[in-house]
């Protein structure tokens, strides 16, 4: 395995290079040559096999095997098949897609063209969140260059394969990052996630077979085509030989580091770097010489680790071992010791109450009531009983399979569950201090009007 010390950035190789995002510059780094070779020599099934054998797992948050996802497409479908690239990056703390799109858009396009070839799609949509105007400009410029150079359009470089890529602009809704929410939004409807099955591979956009993959996944596909399966598998954490269900954590990963560190930024490292090493070596340590109180391992929906859990490796399996939901988007947010965990959880609950799409009852009610309780606690009217109620929401909302349609409730629940379990003493202390005469009460109380969510 490549160790972290000697690892050279690959996905981020264009960052810091002047005009690193142009077609000319991308080709000078070896870009698009793999695509031409692959189109000339390989069949779509070979490319699916290449990505499958690389062990690449989707970088958007769920970590599903990318090549396996592609095999779910029907074999004999007359088409069309649609390919969607998910650039709705909205998970708090996450910005790696933005950097890839702004600094190296051709890497994304090459990965997308290869992936569309593998899945026999002739139309690809990049669903880009509204908040990324610079990404829109750089991607559109790259698309224009790629059409002019014959990498997009009819009969790409004489291969007989044709592909159009279109940018589609979102309208500021977190739920559009859920793949069936994205599809509904693309179709022009409210972004309510769909009940599955059918999965998008069978019936997705416009009732046709559809693949949805993340931007960073596209960058990985481009690099696998350029550097090979063995290269990809030499990086990261191999599958546990004693666990046949563990697909391993192969390849480089972009870690977004933010919050209370000296040097926030997007850093590339082999999958499996520990949170502590990431914070200390890349981030320059916790800012102002302070200690970390809590660290988000991969976007706020993954929950939190305590200072004692920072040696957890940030591969797909690591965060789960310390009670977090998973690696998520690998967005690491450091919360220093001066922050009240009550304020932290309030921020998380406000986000999910705002972004719940309202379709499923446990999520709509659970996110709303958890925020109301946190508002009341912060207003000095908390009771110890509230912590039991919050813990109940945290351990039930979205947990029963099928009780909610998508994973948003799960993601909203995890920070609540982790915060109450790992920082209960601090919550109790806060409630006793701010509500000295009423903290033991258990009678129902009216909710305060919510003033900070909308």
């Amino acid at each position: 395995m490549t160790n972290t010390e000697s690892f050279e950035p690959v996905l981020l190789e264009a960052v810091g290079i002047e005009n690193g995002g142009t077609l000319e510059q991308y080709r000078s780094r070896g870009g698009y040559a793999p695509l031409e070779k692959l189109l000339a020599e390989k069949q779509p099934a070979d490319v699916v096999e290449m990505v499958k054998s690389s062990g690449l797992r989707g970088r958007g948050g769920a970590g599903f095997m990318t090549g396996v996802k592609w095999t779910f497409l029907p074999k004999d479908h007359p088409g069309p098949v649609y390919f969607c690239v998910n650039a709705d990056e909205s998970e708090p703390g996450t910005f790696n897609n933005r950097i890839l799109m702004e600094d190296d858009p051709h890497q994304i396009l090459e990965g997308t063209i290869i992936s569309a070839f593998a899945t026999r799609a002739s139309t690809a949509y990049i669903y880009l969140r509204y908040e990324y105007p610079q990404s829109w400009n750089s991607l559109q410029a790259a698309i224009d260059e790629a059409y002019a150079a014959g990498y997009l359009g009819q009969n790409i470089r004489g291969s007989g394969f044709s592909l159009d890529i279109y940018l589609h602009r979102g309208a500021a809704a977190y739920i559009c990052g859920e793949e069936t929410g994205l599809i509904e939004s693309l179709e022009g409807k409210r972004a309510w996630p769909r009940i599955k099955p059918p999965f998008p591979a069978i019936e997705g956009a416009f009732h046709k077979p559809t693949v949805v993959n993340n931007i960073e996944t596209m960058a990985c596909v481009a690099q696998i085509a350029r550097r090979g399966v063995e290269w990809f598998r030499s990086i990261g954490i191999p599958a546990d030989p004693n666990n046949p269900r563990d697909p391993g954590s192969y390849g480089p990963k972009l870690y977004c580091l933010s919050g209370h560190v000296e040097k926030p930024g997007c850093y590339e490292a082999p999958l499996g770097i520990t949170a502590r090493e990431l914070i200390d070596r890349f981030g320059g340590g916790v800012w102002k010489g302070r200690r970390a109180k809590a660290v988000i391992p991969g976007g706020i929906s993954m929950g939190v680790m305590t200072e004692n859990e920072l040696d957890t490796p940030l591969d797909f399996a690591g965060p789960g071992r310390v009670g977090c939901l998973g690696l998520g988007t690998a967005a690491v947010v450091v919360v220093d010791e001066t922050v009240s965990i009550v304020d932290f959880l309030h921020n998380s609950c406000r986000f999910f109450a705002h972004e719940s799409c309202g379709q499923c009852t446990p999520c709509r009610e659970g996110t709303s009531w958890s925020l109301r309780m946190l508002e009341r606690i912060r207003a000095g009217k908390g009771r110890l009983k509230d912590l039991d109620l919050l813990a109940e929401i945290g351990s039930t909302m979205g947990m029963m399979p099928g009780s909610t349609i998508c994973g948003l409730a799960d993601g909203a629940a995890w920070p609540i569950k982790n915060c109450i379990a790992k920082f209960r003493d601090e919550f109790e202390e806060y409630i006793k201090q701010t509500n000295p005469t009423g903290y033991m009460e258990t009678d129902p109380v009216p909710a305060l009007p919510i003033v900070t969510a909308h």
């Binding site: 703390g93 996450t94 509204y130 022009g188 919050g259 919360v335 921020n347 909308h454």
Partner: protein
């Protein structure tokens, strides 16, 4: 074609129709059409909803349903000439984002979500803008304002007022 359109200009209609070959259904043009109108008018009045629906062979209720879901599009009146989103999600909140939001609003004489009386500026709290490496941050038009401080917020406000006075 639609006779007597009140809101959609020929140019808007041409831009919407130019996108049609990209999608297998007309309904998929809903968000692009809403953006085209909203970019120009800073709101999408009900008449425009009806006209978009006619253009796309949809019921106005379908377009209105999509419009209202996103809470992004203004309808009854336009947002300010400049629309600023100040991030309040966790990475920005940890580095003073909410204080900057409050400071900016106070100086502008509005509450979060409101537009100044002269119509020059709307300030809205936003969820994660995906620029946590520059927290706290703000998106105003196409410009990302990085590592915000109250002083930078003051300078921004002055620039907005200068531009529109």
């Amino acid at each position: 074609m639609i006779a007597n359109r009140k809101v959609l200009t020929d140019n808007m209609v041409a831009r919407i129709e130019a996108l049609a070959p990209r999608y297998p259904t007309k309904q998929a043009l809903t968000l692009p059409a809403l953006h085209i109108v909203h970019d120009e008018l800073r709101h999408v009045p009900l008449d425009a909803v009806v006209e978009i629906a006619q253009l796309l062979d949809l019921a106005p209720a379908q377009v209105q349903d999509t419009l209202t879901f996103y809470q992004f599009f203004y309808q009854d009146k336009p947002h300010g000439k400049v629309r600023a989103f100040v991030c309040r999600s966790i990475s920005c909140a940890l580095r003073g984002g909410e204080q900057v939001l409050d400071h900016l609003c106070e100086k502008a004489g509005i509450k979060p979500g409101e537009t100044t009386a002269d119509g020059s500026l709307t300030v809205e709290p936003a969820e994660c803008l995906g620029a946590c490496d520059f927290a706290p941050c703000m998106l105003a038009g196409d410009d990302l304002h990085k590592d915000l401080t109250p002083e930078k917020a003051d300078a921004f406000l002055e620039a907005v007022r200068g531009r529109t006075s």
